[in-house]
Symmetry: C2
Subunit: 185 residues, 2 copies
């Protein structure tokens, strides 16, 4: 067993490297569709469910269906039955970058002991309220701070985080525009 073999962050890097090679010659298989359904409850309170997705030329189901409640807080005169929709973006970003750090660390032979990300999204709510048309509706900016304990130098840890950003689906989705089509059926 080499030093790198003894590193275990719980990521099967070998399978990911094999998938990368396999999908280079099979672009159709690489086309995934992720799905969710949102149902209106009352007011701005909604319930969203996620179960099915497609990819590798087949339909799949997560092991379990997940349900997510969203609402607005009481300071917006709402019922606060769950977090706000925009907070779900922070959950997605923090989990994506952290998963990437674990994967890159495994690939580089760096043993992680703990990773914690703290996220802050700055939001001027005059946009969504229509109080000032020069203010955007979304975040003015998001700050992510990582606290990482690993068998590596600060420089190597910073390089892990940089590589995770470079390959992060959610970091890309937030920092670059995505085409969103909305229709009524």
């Amino acid at each position: 067993m080499t030093a790198v073999d003894s590193i275990d962050n719980g990521v099967n890097v070998q399978a990911l490297l094999e998938a990368r090679e396999a999908l280079k010659g099979a672009p159709e298989a690489a086309q995934f569709t992720w799905r969710s359904t949102t149902r209106w409850e009352n007011g701005v309170h909604t319930t969203s469910t996620v179960k099915d997705y497609s990819g590798l030329g087949a339909d799949h189901e997560h092991k379990a269906e997940s349900t997510f409640v969203a609402d607005h807080p009481e300071v917006f005169a709402a019922t606060d039955n769950g977090i706000t929709p925009i907070e779900y973006l922070l959950v997605g970003l923090g989990s994506c970058l952290t998963a990437g750090i674990a994967s890159v660390a495994q690939n580089r032979g760096i043993q992680l002991r703990s990773v914690e990300a703290t996220l802050e999204g700055a939001h001027d709510i005059r946009g969504i309220l229509g109080a000032d048309s020069d203010v955007r509706n979304g975040y003015n900016g998001i700050k992510v701070s990582f606290n990482i304990d690993a068998d590596a130098s600060k420089e190597d840890i910073e390089a892990l985080v940089a590589q995770s950003q470079k390959r992060s689906a959610v970091f890309d989705a937030l920092t670059n525009p995505t085409d969103v089509t909305v229709e009524v059926v």
Copy 2:
């Protein structure tokens, strides 16, 4: 009681209109900070929590702390303990647009009976795998389909949905770029 007064989608539009007027003269109070923390569990499995936020010049807490699990599915050689990070973006988008529809409907005197959104995100995973540097990491596009039962014409329902997009925090965050800063502390 007028016809509009009898409409009840559970949204306190009066409070929102008052907030809009009040915040026009108090831009500092309109600055909200939404927060989350993500903790690495193992592999690409993470747990994120959301509880505190700031706004209206004070610190606040949601009524309850919410916890969200993310993971990758078994087809990515992972443990599928929860949905993927990029699926959280669909949850945020569906809940934000649906909340907006309820708010706009209330303001326009349209009684909603049911609203359901189906979301699909197209994702070419060659990007995140590093199999093709021309493929982006995030979604190639997202499609949202609304099925709405309301006391209104199809045209009025489509106008509701259009106005919701125009004021949606998450729709803006996904269709326009946001500055994301990542640091190691």
